[in-house]
Symmetry: C2
Subunit: 342 residues, 2 copies
């Protein structure tokens, strides 16, 4: 049905090797030969079969793109940037949804069967065992949004989550909040742990500020909303008031929190302040207008793709962590900074 290399060779009256060389970068073919082959190939609508080729070259140009969060809108941006970035380098993303997968071996199996050249794990909530399992099978792996010290054998691209936590704390302190809280994502996610650690570390320098923390079950709207509702009910039963400001582990979480607060008649930022993290597109939507810590995801993802490309040429590259600085983006969910000169 579809033309093969042999068909082209016959049509052009040359050897199969000649055809193969015409379609291989840097192979030795005379101009005359190339012309002849290209003519025959275009007449037959031939294009090389990458999968057959991969058998000898050992390169499929397939990259496993692994994620487990399809409920956080930022991941649409993540997929957009990854697919474009990979396509630009002539690599193809094999999308793997690990939302309900618990067995690293199963995912390894899956990606091994398709001989992917590398794996990008785009998640801060997937247990490190997954990245390690890929690594153990000699696959190049980049853990985007990962923790930079937990799996020293795996390349990591992202932000310094502890520093982001500190930045959040400094921001709330500068605005004079007397009681602050951390409302994180899943407790076992490395990103949650590190953000909390940095946040608390910095808050602890101000003994007069009250600190508390709690966790949402997932990085999702529903989870954020559920957690703040739970805290609100506590106010009623235990008398323990809500904090003056919440640093939420993520934007979508923040939006869930915003939604619940507004509904219960509390005004943001007058009654409660909210600070997010990510700065996803939606956060600057005028009806959301979330003050948040910007995570430079474009840079993070482009760098992840570059790093992956580099690993394909140099599989035993020494592992590195690439961290990008964050910055606070002021919008409408925190009260003004204090006008002090301290």
């Amino acid at each position: 049905m579809v033309a093969t290399l042999k068909d082209v060779a016959n049509k052009a009256g040359v050897s199969p090797s000649a055809v193969s060389r015409t379609f291989t970068d840097g192979a030795s073919v005379s101009d005359k030969m190339r012309k002849k082959v290209e003519k025959a190939a275009s007449d037959l609508g031939y294009s090389p079969n990458f999968l057959a080729r991969s058998l000898t070259t050992r390169r499929t140009k397939l990259i496993g793109l692994v994620s487990n969060n399809f409920h956080n809108p930022i991941f649409l941006e993540v997929f957009d940037l990854f697919t474009r970035g990979l396509q630009d380098l002539d690599l193809r993303p094999l999308l793997v949804n690990l939302s309900s997968e618990t067995d690293p071996e199963h995912s390894v199996q899956m990606l091994k069967q398709y001989s992917v050249d590398g794996v990008i794990v785009a998640s801060s909530t997937l247990p490190p065992e997954f990245s390690m399992a890929f690594r153990n099978k000699q696959m190049p792996v980049v853990n985007t949004f990962g923790r930079y010290s937990s799996s020293p054998e795996v390349h990591v691209v992202g932000i310094d989550n502890a520093e982001a936590g500190r930045m959040a704390a400094r921001e709330l302190v500068a605005r004079g909040y007397a009681s602050v809280a951390f409302l994180g994502g899943p407790e076992n996610a490395t990103s949650t742990q590190d953000r909390l650690k940095g946040f608390k570390e910095e808050i602890d320098k101000h003994p007069r500020i009250t600190f508390s923390s709690s966790y949402a079950a997932a990085y999702s709207f529903d989870a954020g909303r559920a957690e703040i509702l739970r805290l609100s009910r506590q106010v009623a039963s235990t008398g323990q008031p809500l904090a003056e400001a919440y640093f939420c582990g993520d934007d979508v979480l923040s939006i869930g929190v915003l939604s619940a607060l507004q509904e219960s008649g509390l005004h943001v930022p007058n009654d409660v302040g909210i600070l997010g993290l990510n700065d996803m597109e939606m956060s600057r939507w005028e009806n959301i207008n979330l003050t948040t810590i910007h995570q430079p995801i474009k840079q993070i993802i482009n760098s992840s793709v570059e790093l992956m490309a580099a690993m394909l040429d140099e599989p035993d590259r020494y592992p590195e962590a690439r961290l990008f600085p964050c910055r606070v983006v002021e919008r409408g969910t925190l009260r003004s900074r204090l006008d002090t000169t301290e």
Copy 2:
């Protein structure tokens, strides 16, 4: 490095064919042979190379998942459902981002080189030439969210967009709006055209209702917002007032519209009514609370996956359109229905 079929054959002391048969469903192998081979295979950590296998079986189990909209949050749900659905059938999605692609031949080339078993085009805005180009290369194609009559050679799964338009019109009529408008997505998208057609058809039955229409440049928040701002400026310059209610071509468009209206001090639904289409997760977020027409995307996508699976077994299957009914989901962006008994 990684164990091959021959390694297993040697270790088990049997022929390569025997090993191959052990890993092929329905092949003839005795129990004793199977045991022996499985032992050797698990000792070596062997798993078959799908790509090598595909050379003879002519099945890669790779499905091209093509989209061009990474700015509409509903597509995150779409990708979630597709990846899960395909994975459950042991198929693998090769994600293709056609956001900035204009040449169908290029995408065909790309997918042909990877010998995908089929292509799912998940878009109502990609020109029909793309689906047709895949079809012309004998690839099974399912156009999810496509127009069911425009490319009769391509299978389509989705809704009857004209009927959805009529449903929207009936809903606005029932609520007694005296002037209504259609604020669609891109003018050349089949979904926009059909929704407008149905909507207008039904509104025209009510000569006392004023009708107008306009288009946003994309199915995105920014485009919806920009279009309603343009219309608002017209109010100032031409005196032409805004409509009492807008049927927007999509939820994310509606949210952009909501955002701009609220900002300019108009109250929804008291001053202006908004009706969306899709019912994505975000539309039921309490701080959005959009009245919208529910498109059953779970059913649509599961059906698309099933249809694709069926086409793999029967490539020349007669093309069909699978349409799912929509329904209005009442939330907070339209005023109450009139209490009439007419």
